[in-house]
Amino acid sequence: MKLQISNGRVIDPASTLDSHLDIFIDDGKIVAISENHEGFVADQTIDATGLIVCPGLVDLCARLREPGQEHTATIDSETRAAVKGGITSLCVPPNTAPIIDSPAVVELIEDRAKKAGRTMVYTIGALTQKLEGELLSEMMALKEAGCIGISNGLSPIKNSLVLRRAMEYAATLDFTLFINAADPWLQSQGCIHEGTVSARLGLGGIPEAAETIAVSRDLLLIEQTGVRAHFHNLSTAKAVDMIQDAQRRGLSVTADVSAHHLHLSEHDIGNYDSLSHVIPPLRSTRDRDQLQQGLRDGVIGAICSNHQPLDNDAKQGPFAQTKPGISGLETLLPLTMKLVDDGEISLKQAIANLTCNPAEILNIDAGHLSVGSAADICIINPNAHNECQPQHFISAGKNSPFAGWLFNHEVSHTLFNGKLVYQK
């Protein structure tokens, strides 16, 4: 199968390429990126006139709910949603049921993903057995089974000694540690940011220190153990400062932020809008602005979907009793591009935050366009003028607070291994 993508504006931040070229694909691989390719006769041509052609997106954090909660969503349903969002590689955190703490679960997920055949699904293994924060998981076995990193998911490790040992062991295996930084005690009483909105609504607050105390402890142990670490889903301005400081001191530390934290603040909760219930919570507008600044400064390298599909019932009820989470796969690209429209970041940076940067954090061969590599490609229509309609999401989770938002960018085609897996 020979495929040609013609007349598109090809943007590949990894190679600083930005020009109108054709991409020639043969047998799932890119064979040329040029104006023409001698002797190439395409079986299929995609006319990308007026469109942006970039690497398939790499999402560092998406929950697919399988295994364990197939009534909410499945690998099949969510990989469909992923490719609608232009995503061709994604990482699942370990808190499935059963938890990803044995090679069998890794294999199960990889099998289902292969069967779906639309996007690469990488697993992040459990750092401790059952994520209980007490006993180390068999990290070597998990690494050999294919886990791309290790994490304790949303269950923070309370015992600093266990965390130190786990970091040392992960460092021994050259495993990247993924961290959701949260102090369990400061977080436990609340459901939204502790600030003006929690004061007004009478909802339990999660103070900024719930994140900063954890980031601070973890950074000190990272420095001591030498583990390579990545912080998921930063929410506070102070945490960005702390990571920046650590990076300046030469620590091997990276960070991402969810697309929704770059756009929303505590005020979007309005009158108990459970769709904006998310952990870590949406914080002050200043925090949101500093997260954007962290992107510009390169402290935060990647934007992720932090996809958490939920069924309708999970969002029905008094705010604190609803489940936190946003269905984010299908808004990752348009929300990131909205930052470009708003003048917050450049187009090149936006694409880098979604492609080569997260690929580099994962140390995988993805997120770039180069001859000889797999043709994972996202084609974007920059003049779509779409209204976001979560009820029409492909994801089984329609839980998005972005209903009614106007987006200029939408994915028009997604290619995975040279195969057209999504077309608008």
Binding site: R200, L201, G202, L203, G205, Q316, G317, F319
Partner: protein
């Protein structure tokens, strides 16, 4: 924020929170309560205003005084009233809040009076009831208790003429108090000169001043020259979770004693939403003393609730009859 408490013509449809309501409406509630309160002093205490209407008291959380005054208010307006203690019924069988609600709605209820332990519960219910049903918030979590706030305003108005001249102090657990949040909003809307809150940092919300109050941690300073003192109930469970060391120490620091009361203006009134913990937030001698209006508050509760119920169900008939007055 859209105000779904009001009909298109600006009348009360639900009564969920004081926030977003304008001064004339709060005044109207008090004026109407004033009329009703003369009725409650008569031999025959009933008026036929809500005859044929069905009101459900939905209490997901225990309450004696609030439920009783709502029930009395409904009966004095000639409505049919049902009391449902949900904490001991449906939800314990695993029925969801919405299912419970829709079942009760199917029984042709005109109004729900709701108390729930979760902030935002009344708002949630109001969003999901049929258009002809009114919802009155009888207390949701730590968020709002608007009828309590209005009966407090009514009580203040009975004793003090002009709200802008007043200095009001609220003492105690503001953080967990729906009463305090609604009082602060009502006092601000009515233009009270100064609102103070007094308490330890553990019992005040962070960013408390954004509610429009002056914050005091020293009761002596906070009570100086105030016209109205509102003490809040201290829940016993506050000793858990390291919010306070002991009831004894709380009383020493923030309890309203006769000695502390001297710091306020000589004609200051003392209020409490009840039930009182004697010797914890207030000394018996103050609670039972000449400046206390605590029992008056309870009496006024009936008139205020009659006012709110009749106004909300009045708007419902306005909705039903279209534009004809």
């Amino acid at each position: 924020m859209t105000n779904n408490q009001l009909t298109d013509s600006g009348h009360l449809r639900h009564f969920l929170t004081i926030e977003g309501l304008k001064r004339p409406l709060l005044t109207e509630i008090m004026d109407r309560a004033e009329q009703f309160s003369s009725i409650t002093n008569r031999q025959v205490k009933k008026v036929p205003l809500l005859r044929g209407k069905t009101i459900m008291n939905l209490f997901f959380e225990n309450s004696t005084r609030t439920r009783t005054t709502f029930e009395l208010a409904a009966k004095r307006l000639s409505a049919d009233v049902m009391n449902l203690n949900i904490s001991t019924s449906a939800t314990s069988k695993g029925e969801s809040l919405l299912d419970t609600l829709h079942n009760l709605e199917a029984m042709h209820t005109d109004m729900f009076v709701v108390r729930h332990s979760q902030s935002g519960a009344a708002e949630f219910i109001a969003q999901h009831v049929a258009p002809h049903v009114s919802v009155i918030n009888a207390g949701d979590g730590c968020h709002a208790h608007p009828t309590q706030a209005m009966l407090d305003m009514f009580t203040i108005r009975r004793h003090k003429q002009h709200f802008p001249d007043l200095r009001v102090a609220i003492i105690g657990d503001i953080l967990h108090s729906r009463v305090a949040r609604s009082q602060i909003q009502a006092l601000s809307t009515l233009g009270v000169g100064e609102i103070r809150v007094i308490g330890p940092k553990t019992l005040l919300p962070s960013d408390c001043q954004t509610l429009g109050v002056h914050v005091y941690h020293d009761i002596d300073e906070g009570l100086r020259d105030v016209d109205v003192i509102i003490t809040l109930r201290l829940q016993n469970e506050r000793m858990q979770g390291a919010l306070l060391p002991s009831a004894r120490e709380y009383f020493q620091c923030f309890g309203l004693t006769e000695e502390k009361l001297q710091l306020a203006k000589p004609d200051a009134i003392v209020m409490h939403p009840g039930p009182i913990n004697r010797g914890v937030e207030i000394a018996s001698t103050v609670a039972d003393g000449p400046q206390s209006v605590i029992l008056e508050q309870v009496t006024h509760g009936i008139a205020i609730r009659m006012a709110v119920m009749s106004m909300a169900l009045g708007s419902q008939s306005e909705l039903a009859e279209g534009s004809t007055p």
